[in-house]
Structures are given as C-alpha cells and as structure tokens.
C-alpha cells in the first residue's frame, strides 16, 4: 500500500503534478494551488492513505516532477 504526503502550503501552482497524475491531483481555481484529491489534512500536510501499489510508478512521476519537492510517497 502507498501513502501520499503533500505539503500544500509550499505549492507554487505550476500544474506539473496535474499533468502527470490527473487521477490524484487537480488544480484549485480558488487559490491556484494543486489539490490532492480525497485527502485529509493533518498537521499542515494533506495525506491520502491505502493506495494500491500498482500506482507506484505513476505517482513517482509526480514526486519527481514537482519543482518544490512537496509530494512524498511512502510504500508500506
């Protein structure tokens, strides 16, 4: 299983994660930052748990492309 940790306050709204991972990320039109879909806010981090391991490669594209390196994935 995979957990995604996303430090949203540092997002610069470049849209890169949405381009490579549209299943998990989408741009907010309210504040121009990316949103980790269905995630929960915990101590300034947005967290999405229990993602199937088949998404490992798909999600690692987002962690690599993010210019400010605020998307982390943990594989359990």
């Amino acid at each position: 299983m995979i957990t995604i940790i996303y430090k949203r306050d540092k997002c610069i709204g470049c849209n890169s994660c949405v381009l490579v991972c549209p299943l998990f990320f989408s741009m907010s039109k309210i504040d121009g930052k990316s949103v980790l879909l269905k995630s929960k806010l915990k101590k300034n981090n947005y967290i999405l748990k229990n993602i199937d391991n088949v998404f490992t490669r798909y999600l690692s594209k987002a962690t690599k492309i993010c210019p400010v390196k605020i998307i982390k994935i943990i594989i359990h």
């Binding site: 997002c11 610069i12 709204g13 470049c14 039109k29 309210i30 121009g32 930052k33 210019p67 400010v68």
Partner: protein, 410 residues
C-alpha cells in the same frame, strides 16, 4: 532638482521595518505564489492590509509585484489579490501579464510595467503608457538610451493611464540575470522549476566543465562562473543615473536578508541626498562601496549602464561579502527607561566590543557595538557563553524575541 524615489524590496516584516528605518520612499512585495520569489515568499493575502497600514503610518508608498506567468487556474487568485490591493490602497501593481494589467486598469489600480516586459524603446513605452503609470526599463539599456527615452517622454509629453506624466523606474543595485531580465528557461528545462513562476534554481550561479566526448577530457572554463553575472552597483556613478531623468530607483533583493535591505537602502539614500545637496564625493563613494560589500554580493559591476562589453562574471560561488552574521541569541526582556536589554545566548558567545545586529519585527535591523556586558550575577564580564543570560545597554528600543546576530569577518 526633482525628487528621486528610492524603492526597496521586502519579503517579511523585518525587512519592511529595515527599509522604513533606512529611509526608503517606497517598498515592493509579493504575496502567495504569484511573484518572482514564490519559493521563499512568506507573505500572504492577509498581509496586504497590515503592510499597507504600516506604510500609511510611516508615509511611504507600497507596491505589490504580481509579475509571474499567469495560467487559467490563477485567475480567481489574481482577482482576489488585486481586489484586496484596491481595498487597502496599494499604490501600484508591478505586472507583466496582460490580464493583470487589464484587471488593475478596471479597478483603477496604477500599473508599473515590470522589467520582465523588457521595454527598450520609446514606441513600446508609448504602447504600454495607455495602461500604466510607471515603466520599469529593461536592465540591458545603457545610460544614453535611458536619457534619450526620458527626454522623449518630456518632449512628447507622454502621459500614463491616470493622465499624469509617465514615470521611469530603473534598477540601481542587486543581482543581475544572465538572460534578458528573467526570461530564462535553464531552471525549467533542468529541474522543471520555472524561473517565470518564481522558482528559479539558479543554474547560472554554478561552475561548469566543458567535456570533449572524443578524448573524454574535461576543461574548466577559465576559472570563471561564466553564466553568473556580478551584481549591479551604481553608487559610484549615481549622479549620471539621476541625470538621465529617471524618477524611481529600485533595489533588487526580495530574496535577501533584512540587513541587506537596511544597508543598501541607507547607502543609496545617503547617495541621493548627497547628489541633491552637491556633496557627492569620491571619499563618500569609497565608504559606501565598503559598506555595500559587507553584505551579500557576488562582486560589483556597473551592469550595462556604462555600455561596457557584455559580461563580467563572478569568480566565486555564493557571496563575496566581507562580513557575515551568525545567530547568537534573542532578547528576553527590555527595560525601556534605562535602555537595557536582557538576552539569552543560544549559540556561540558574545564578547565585549563585538558588533551585533538586532533584527525583528517593529525595529527592522539595528546595528550596535557591545561596550559593557553584565552577567547574571550582576558582574561585569568580557564574555558570555552559550546558555548564559546577560544584559547590555543599547541606544534604541528593542522588543522581546528580537533576534541577535554577531557580525564577523567572512
């Protein structure tokens, strides 16, 4: 002689107070992610009101920079920022995107055309004058070209959006870009980190090798950081700059520290005043250059203003500043009547005759020399170490939790 406006960069409240105390006539700042220092931007929309109120009290102008590339998903945020600026009387928006310019016009917010738009001739200036009140000229122009543009504005009586004569702003100090005023894609291509969205990774500031694949030999490029331009410094020919007819002198450095803002603003303010009252001497220039080189710099050159051949590259990575600051502790109490502050040393030590900076909210940056240290047992000592509490006398007001730094030679 007409009044020259000195415009200082701020990125937090410390540098705001530093700019005000040092004599800036105006300040500029960015909020949220839509400015060219998005990565180290500390200010949010809610800070617009607070900054505006502080500036109003201190009677200085305040401008907001909103000069990144704007995408569709940014539109609502841009509108929200601009409406907030209108509500709290921000004096101008530094912009490059046509939507930002257009929407500010609708709200009747004055526009400064950002250097990102590279205005290099009178005809494009005329075009943008319909939408703006201040034009920041391209940093790549020389003084003759600037003078020519300024005299043509006068001759043709070119007016801005608010029907007042259009003003010219140029950079007088700070980092320069190896690309034409920020239009660079090195960072984007190598790290997907766009300089034009305020996330420049500064590839240009590094040292590179040239590799010959056939022989597998690498060559160091003449010991120079061939893409890293030295910093712009104009204090030694500021009279010529003012003589061109410009209205606003802008200091670069929203990514820099409060003491940088303080020192640079103070020196340029003094220089402008000396030029006005005709006491601009070589001796003063030498003194200012020494002071300027004590804070962050990559070595100085005159930029493109004197029409020199392109490129003066720095010889080092990072700063060449003569002095640096190290954190030693914080203020824990201040007795205003006797002007004595109690401080806690949290790292290194404090010695007698040390020069220190006290940096913080409300005071900006203050520099002082420690003449007497009293320790916890009320004895006069020559040194206090980490973990100890001591009291020293200062000439100005400080506040609890202001940070104390020791200034040492670099």
């Amino acid at each position: 002689m007409k009044k020259i406006e000195l415009l200082s960069p701020i990125n937090n409240y410390e540098s705001l107070y530093a700019a005000i105390e040092s004599g800036a006539n105006s300040i500029y700042f960015g909020v949220e992610q839509l400015n060219m220092r998005a990565v180290n931007s500390n200010l949010k929309i809610k800070d617009i009101r607070k900054i505006s109120n502080i500036c109003k009290k201190k009677k200085i102008k305040k401008y907001l920079t909103l000069n990144t590339i704007i995408y569709d998903h940014d539109i609502l945020l841009v509108k929200r920022i601009l409406k907030t600026c209108k509500k709290y009387d921000i004096d101008g928006i530094i912009a490059m995107d046509n939507f930002v310019i257009n929407y500010s016009n609708k709200l009747n917010l004055p526009i400064h055309i950002s250097t990102q738009l590279n205005i290099t001739n009178i005809e494009s200036l005329k075009f943008y004058s319909k939408y703006s009140d201040v034009i920041v000229l391209s940093r790549e122009l020389n003084l003759n070209q600037i003078k020519n543009i300024c005299s043509l504005i006068k001759k043709n009586n070119i007016k801005g959006f608010s029907k007042k004569k259009i003003k010219i702003e140029i950079f007088c100090h700070g980092s320069l870009c190896m690309a034409v005023s920020g239009k660079c894609y090195l960072s984007l291509h190598t790290y997907n980190s766009s300089a034009n969205r305020g996330a420049c990774k500064q590839n240009c500031r590094r040292e590179y090798l040239v590799k010959d694949y056939k022989s597998n030999l690498s060559y160091k490029i003449s010991n120079e950081y061939i893409m890293s331009s030295k910093d712009l410094c104009t204090i030694n020919f500021l009279d010529k700059i003012i003589d061109t007819g410009i209205n606003i002198l802008k200091i670069e450095g929203r990514g820099k520290s409060p003491e940088y803002v303080s020192v640079i603003t103070k020196c340029y303010k003094e220089a402008i005043e000396s030029i006005v009252n005709k006491s601009y001497t070589q001796e003063k220039i030498n003194d200012w250059i020494y002071k300027l080189s004590c804070v962050y710099n990559r070595g100085f050159w005159s930029g493109y203003y004197l029409g020199q051949r392109i490129g003066e590259w720095t010889q080092n990575s990072g700063s060449l500043s003569l002095k640096k600051k190290i954190y030693i502790g914080k203020v824990i109490k201040f007795y205003n009547k006797i002007k004595v502050m109690i401080m806690l040393i949290q790292s290194y030590n404090l010695e007698i005759f040390d020069n220190i900076y006290i940096i913080g909210n409300k005071i900006g940056v203050k520099e002082t020399k420690v003449k007497k240290i009293i320790n916890k047992k009320k004895k006069e000592v020559s040194e206090v170490k980490k973990g100890e509490i001591c009291s020293i006398k200062v000439e100005f007001k400080v506040y609890t939790n202001n940070k104390i730094y020791k200034i040492i030679n670099n």
